[in-house]
Symmetry: C3
Subunit: 264 residues, 3 copies
């Protein structure tokens, strides 16, 4: 049974308003993310107008939950001895009604992260961002990625994303050629971007951090999170024009975010 | 009671001599720094003419203390299980009269790092580099940053920096729009730089590593450490001209350091 | 007794064929590497046409050994509590006849990694890549590097490399101004590259990951591994023309790899 893939397209004016809001508020985002992408994630948040912090000690995470505006949990380089600290950080965010984002990197093919991500769902992430395979796994489908790679197209994950959004009350973001953002009832698509983004490690992970930043803004969170995707997509198009390959692309991507943040 | 903020300006000729000295000696700097900025710190030291090493095992740190010329301790992503190793590394450096630098990232608002930084002061860092809020905290003032962000201007931290320098016998560096370098009795200001440096993660952290490198040189350490600030400031001005945003700025900054190191 | 240094030069046509093979197969490489270079390593593999994954939990490493095509073990920031997991990962790769690469960063001057690297040799790495000092140490010579720096020239390590290759049945790669690749009986040299590569942290470490990727290809592994060196060397020459220093060089290097991967 084919499913209609007819989400709304995001209006650019809405996205620009959200970007200006982010810039005015510069939310402080606690990023508990994998060690591969910490630097790029921090730089991407700074470029976009948010403030990153990468606290990792358990006791400091507890304290920092009172200071930060949002939280990202990314399981890319998860180790079992970190699970307790990560779980507690999500719990603190949940209790204090601060939005937190789950990035379930490579969930499905590896047991520790798969079990842990299922546990985390009980703490109600406000946003879940993954590729199509990851979202299908979290929605309960039997699939298997190839390390960090997806085996599905975004369209194939549409009903899984809606189902996951409804069951968790999170906004679910499936990224790929076109990004899909859904709360289960309403769905928005964000087109554009560049295939070069798949040749730079951590672009998806950093987008999850940006989703956390936009999720802290007042207003309709579905549109705010879609605006994060739109901002990155616009920056990717700017970067693709400037770049001669994935190396220079990554830096122009940051420049492209900063130019939007400055209203250019 | 307003305080006069009238430090000396650093003479460019002095800085250029120190840069040539660094290039000739290429000191080996052990960087025990946060995981977010390790790569950028290593690249910045290499560009400037020093050699970075990021040993992290306790037993290897002990051995490496005999081989390295200087040490950086940065508490950005401190975890309680690291404290003992970091403390011992500082102790070894102290005993062997090798200069070590303390970078007290986000001290004040988080307990573990705050207590740990106070403990480390007893091991006589030769340089302490922080933003205005961090220096005020170490000097005993009740302030609170917002994660890694400062709530103070450099000028407001002037007396705190002098007091901290006198009580610890360290050279204290307060970085911001203008950098202040003081040993408590003599003070030097280094102007210039670029606001884009605040949009790249780890520029301050990497400057601390560069201070460690310059602190290993023979001669007047106050001027050497100020020369590290000057070198970075010059590179930032070069990069600001070349860059279209914070992404490209970070790379041109490294190029700008390398060009100074080569005497260009 | 002077040794003739007369290895074969690699034929460009052979290298280009191997590069196309890599691009067609896009092997999944498990990189257990030091925290300083994880990001650059992942980006370099992606640019060259392979897929990186940085799993670090012991149980997940066990599972991932069945999914990945090759493994890199780099001891740059080794901690004693990691040794067991790293050893097991190498053991799994060995048992499943998947090629794994050893990068013995700074071996010799530091006890933990030195003992550990000797232990790992028993698990038959298919490739060992290091600078001249590191290869001499592994071959049993009494030498001492200065942190990550070599004290030898590639030519001086020629007989050590051959001896190490014969005793371990690994392909040994000595990188420097000219790279040497040997299986003990046959030797290939790869010239070219750029001195700027020594001013960017992790270029050698990332080359080790690229060697792991090429080592997974069907055919004569000696030529495949030499092709990895050739690919990087070509990219370095491209980057040297484009760059104004080590900062921009690093990004153009990635672009240069991607252009070769695309057959340009």
């Amino acid at each position: 049974m084919p499913t209609d893939f007819t989400p709304l397209k995001l209006d650019a004016a809405i996205a620009r308003t959200a970007i200006a809001q982010l810039s005015a508020q510069s939310p402080l985002i606690h990023c508990m993310t994998n060690t591969v992408v910490q630097n790029f994630t921090a730089n991407l948040l700074l470029a976009a107008g948010a403030i990153p912090a990468m606290i990792s000690d358990a006791s400091e995470c507890r304290e920092f939950a009172l200071q930060s505006d949002g939280l990202l949990i990314n399981v890319g380089t998860l180790q079992h001895q970190q699970c307790h600290t990560l779980y507690q950080a999500a719990e603190h965010a949940h209790r204090q009604a601060k939005p937190w984002v789950l990035d379930p990197v490579a969930v499905g093919g590896l047991s520790l992260r798969t079990e842990f991500c299922y546990q985390l769902l009980a703490l109600q992430p406000r946003v879940i961002r993954g590729n199509a395979s990851e979202i299908c796994v979290l929605a309960g489908e039997e699939v298997r990625g190839r390390g960090p790679e997806t085996q599905h197209r975004v369209e194939q994950a549409f009903t899984a994303a809606q189902r996951l959004a409804l069951s968790t009350q999170a906004i679910v973001v499936v990224t790929g050629e076109t990004d899909l953002v859904t709360d289960g009832l309403r769905s928005i698509s964000v087109a554009g971007g560049s295939p070069l983004a798949t040749r730079v490690t951590g672009v998806g992970c950093a987008l999850s951090a940006l989703c956390a930043a936009f999720a802290t803004l007042d207003g309709d969170r579905l549109f705010h999170v879609a605006s994060a995707c739109w901002m990155l997509s616009q920056a990717a198009e700017y970067a693709a024009v400037k770049a001669a390959g994935p190396g220079t692309f990554a830096l122009h991507l940051l420049d492209g975010l900063a130019q939007q943040q400055e209203g250019r």
